[in-house]
Symmetry: C2
Subunit: 391 residues, 2 copies
């Protein structure tokens, strides 16, 4: 186990009816003038926004609204939010929605108190200061409600990039599983896939002797495997929704990732699919991650075998562990198909001749042309090979 530090101070209010706590919680965490940031019309249609607005008013809080955060949130909306925060002297950003609204809110919160272009933070500059961010979550997926991360797409160049910093971790998050019951099955399944891959990117590590974090990773994965088919079959299953929602937070606040090297290749490769074809992030991961597993299991099978046995309950083949690994990957793929996820990048509109371009774009964006990946180091030829396996 490697030395590490860990601090996850977000306050979680979890369960039925908790969105009515929005006002009191904003007040408790020092907000007086709020930017209320959300996505499309669903939070309006469902009445959630009305509940939140009523709660803010009851607590005597002023607020301005900014809707229109889109999936794979974009820099133009962030600039708009920053300007609004400055003009209205906002001191607290409240996101109502999923990972997109939250990530957009985090970028706005950092940019509003920065004397420069917020995009600097997405090009490696450390984030030292930000307005406090609160969250009312409407989909279990990104884990942004408990994480330090934000991912924004720069529209002019199609760059989807991340930044991280402790000041971006939400001060509070309201998680009501009932709010996720109206999600379409595709979004639900893509969310569960995202949760699984957040764990997988931490699980596949060359750091030895990390039994506790391995076991915690496996706990989250098994929960998602058990509970997701239940909500696909019955979207109103509150209990299964609740287990997925809490698992989604545990998957990404880094409890599962401390003390070990991590490997974020599947996310890196998926970001290209979102940027170029508008793929839903979790659906993109459902195609990339199994392809990546097939590729790395040839070069470094050890952890793939453990994944097969412990997560997918495969019988260990002691003579031919590579068959166990293959069986595990196959069960993962079957699971993804069962919950309605795609199995080829063709389904997003990708053409075979696009593959070199996708790989080159990763090389230029990540500036890691010759040093991509952790569990297995990849060059651009390897990245192309993985995209081909995903084709």
């Amino acid at each position: 186990m490697l030395n590490f530090n860990f601090c996850a101070p977000t306050y979680f209010e979890f369960g039925k009816g908790t969105e009515a706590q929005a006002g009191p919680l904003v007040k408790r965490f020092g907000g007086t003038k709020i930017l209320l940031h959300y996505g499309g019309g669903s939070v309006k249609k469902s009445g959630l926004l009305d509940t939140v607005v009523a709660s803010l008013r009851e607590s005597g809080l002023e607020f301005v609204e900014l809707g229109g955060a889109v999936p794979n949130p974009v820099d133009s909306k962030v600039y708009e939010g920053i300007e609004l925060c400055r003009k209205e002297a906002v001191d607290f950003v409240l996101a109502v929605g999923g990972g997109s609204a939250i990530d957009s809110a985090k970028a706005i919160a950092a940019g509003a108190v920065y004397d420069g272009d917020f995009w600097d933070f997405f090009q490696g500059k450390g984030v030292e200061k930000a307005l406090p961010v609160g969250v009312i979550l409407t989909i279990a997926a990104a884990g942004s409600e408990g994480s330090v991360n934000s991912v924004i797409t720069k529209e002019s160049t199609n760059e989807k990039r991340g930044c991280g910093g402790e000041v971006l971790r939400p001060v509070f998050a309201i998680l009501n599983p009932a709010l996720t019951q109206t999600l379409p099955p595709y979004q639900t399944a893509a969310g569960s896939t995202d949760i699984m891959v957040h764990v997988i990117e931490r699980y596949f590590s060359n750091t030895k002797e990390v039994e506790i974090t391995d076991r915690l990773c496996e706990a989250v994965l098994k929960t998602i495997i058990t509970e997701t088919p239940r909500v696909i079959e019955n979207p109103d299953n509150y209990e299964a929704r609740a287990n997925i929602m809490w698992a989604g937070m545990v998957a990404h606040n880094n409890l599962c990732g401390v003390g070990r090297e991590q490997d974020w290749v599947s996310h890196g490769m998926e970001h290209e699919l979102s940027a170029f074809y508008g793929a839903t992030h979790g659906a993109g991961l459902a195609v990339i991650c199994p392809a990546w597993l097939k590729f790395v299991s040839r070069k470094n099978p050890g952890k793939v075998v453990q994944f097969a046995v412990r997560v997918w309950d495969c019988d260990m083949n002691f003579e031919h562990p590579e068959l166990t690994a293959a069986e595990g990957i196959e069960r993962f793929e079957n699971f993804l198909r069962k919950i309605g996820m795609p199995s080829s990048i063709k389904e997003f509109g990708a053409k075979e001749e696009d593959i070199p371009k996708l790989a080159r774009h990763i090389g230029s964006v990540s500036e890691t042309e010759k040093n991509f990946g952790g569990y297995v180091k990849l060059d651009l030829g390897d990245v192309e090979a993985i995209y081909k396996l995903a084709y």
Copy 2:
């Protein structure tokens, strides 16, 4: 799953050499005049106290020392600490040691800023204010480094009682697994048992549909089962020590217990053994917990069967699940014996005729004569029966 809130903001510095961060961390969390509280001579002999003192001095911090925290820490030491804090205008309490030093430090921190008898907090009064507490941990066991709890024994009446409050959660904890390498096997094994039972008291719940917390509980238990025999065999095994130490924190910061009823019967019954016979807490639990499992498995077998299958890898006997439950308890007992834990309360000096007295004392202390336990409700006759099973 029940509604819940969760917030665990402790900052953890984990790994080799981290005790040298004591000074900078105290400073970062606002301390200027420190009460340095520890137990016996081992932290002096090992040189740990010198390292901590040097770090405090380098950071320009003033401090006063209070040694002598004993296992099952006592009220007299707490009164002494409170007086010292007031006299010296202490604004930060730093505990160096295990659960005893930490629990004692927490009680001192609460009492020092309270205009009354600190024992009020251990009789049900809420703790609203306390000096900040920092921790340098020397044994993986109590989980007090990440928890809101403190347990103190009132010497005059032999009452061992707990109190809890968010302000008692340490602001930082330094966890260096190497510091635990000098522990005798018995203390190491008792620590691992304590960790397991912290999880078990949360695991055995009548709350349905708590897959994520069940799985997290099982992850911690399996880690302790795998790693403890390795450190009993080789006390210098840093990696196994590291896994146990982090598991000990996860076991008790309540991540494993949210959204579900909990059942703290084994702790309640063990406290009597510590109070009357001076039993090491974890060793007492090693006797009580399996006896309790035997008793409850007759009345409410469901979760015991799951415990047997998922934690102890028992084959499920679908025709006779009670045999599966029994097999799981037997494997637990064999494990405890293998790591050197006792199997009868006789080993602490208890006599059969003491049993009614122990049970009555629980009744009077807990004021729950007719309402003890959660997974299975117990009356005093049941408590006696469990002590008899443990005899």
